[in-house]
Symmetry: C2
Subunit: 167 residues, 2 copies
């Protein structure tokens, strides 16, 4: 974290980030940092074979954005494509139109995924609620009785709970 604090006082701070710095600050792994660099998604300083990677500080932000886009469901191919899109276009008009089209499609997928996740979250939420009642239960015929338990009424029970508990 403070690997850069050992600089001689007064000297300009060495801003380069090591692979480990990138991994820690970017909340990812060493492997991923090296993999992204090999794939050209982030770039380090020129170096000889086997020597350590040194990343300019702006590459950390890059890494974080790429991580966020990955978490949002974009593949590395799509991310590469988006990052290269503008420079492959002849005019702002064309670039803006291609970029918009791609982003709209991704947005639509992203929203579908978010709706699914909201549904799952809500279902897991009410399942957790129900489990507080089940935690008090001492019915002797434990697993068998659950499927027709009247305390936790079947009518209000969602699909996920049905699958993971009430069968």
């Amino acid at each position: 974290m403070d690997g850069n604090q050992g600089d001689r006082p007064g000297s300009p701070p060495e801003e380069w980030l090591s692979t480990g710095d990138m991994a820690r600050l970017g909340e990812t792994t060493l492997r991923t940092v090296r993999f992204y660099e090999a794939e050209g998604l982030i770039s380090a300083q020129q170096r000889e074979d086997g020597s350590q990677r040194k990343f300019p500080p702006d590459q950390l932000k890059r890494l974080q954005i790429i991580s966020d886009l990955r978490d949002s469901g974009l593949s590395l191919q799509e991310i590469k494509h988006l990052m290269a899109l503008k420079s492959g276009c002849a005019s702002a008009k064309q670039a803006a139109s291609e970029m918009s089209a791609t982003l709209c499609a991704r947005m639509a997928e992203l929203e579908r995924r978010m709706e699914t996740m909201q549904r799952v979250r809500s279902e897991l939420g009410s399942m957790l609620e129900m489990l507080r009642t089940c935690g008090q239960c001492s019915h002797p015929e434990f697993p068998r009785h659950c499927s027709n338990c009247e305390l936790v009424d079947r009518s209000g029970v969602e699909r996920t709970t049905q699958l993971l508990w009430k069968n």
Copy 2:
């Protein structure tokens, strides 16, 4: 879709679903249906080698829930574990406590992912907004001028836009 409509009138409808039915209705692929069956996540009727799979209708719901949980970031291992958890417990108390603990952890991860996705969605949203202005642009020095374009002011531009457009 209506593969079951050819039944002799009056006979009880054949409710079995084919692999193709499962894939279509579950909005997934033939490969995934077969893969999940092989993994024991869904189950088909007994059959001889090479004959067609026939799924009871309740397995479709199962397939859909598994898909949703996958989309929400759970691995097949975790899903299997959750589905088997209750039957491996001796009491409702124990089962409820173990299930709650697992679900809470998954919920926390799910919410972190959703927050990331919300941020990305909002950033892509304002980028799309900005691109409507860029679509009108006919500046001669197209890609080079973008980085210090005053119409689309740099101050209000988020990280993703910075990465994909303003550099």
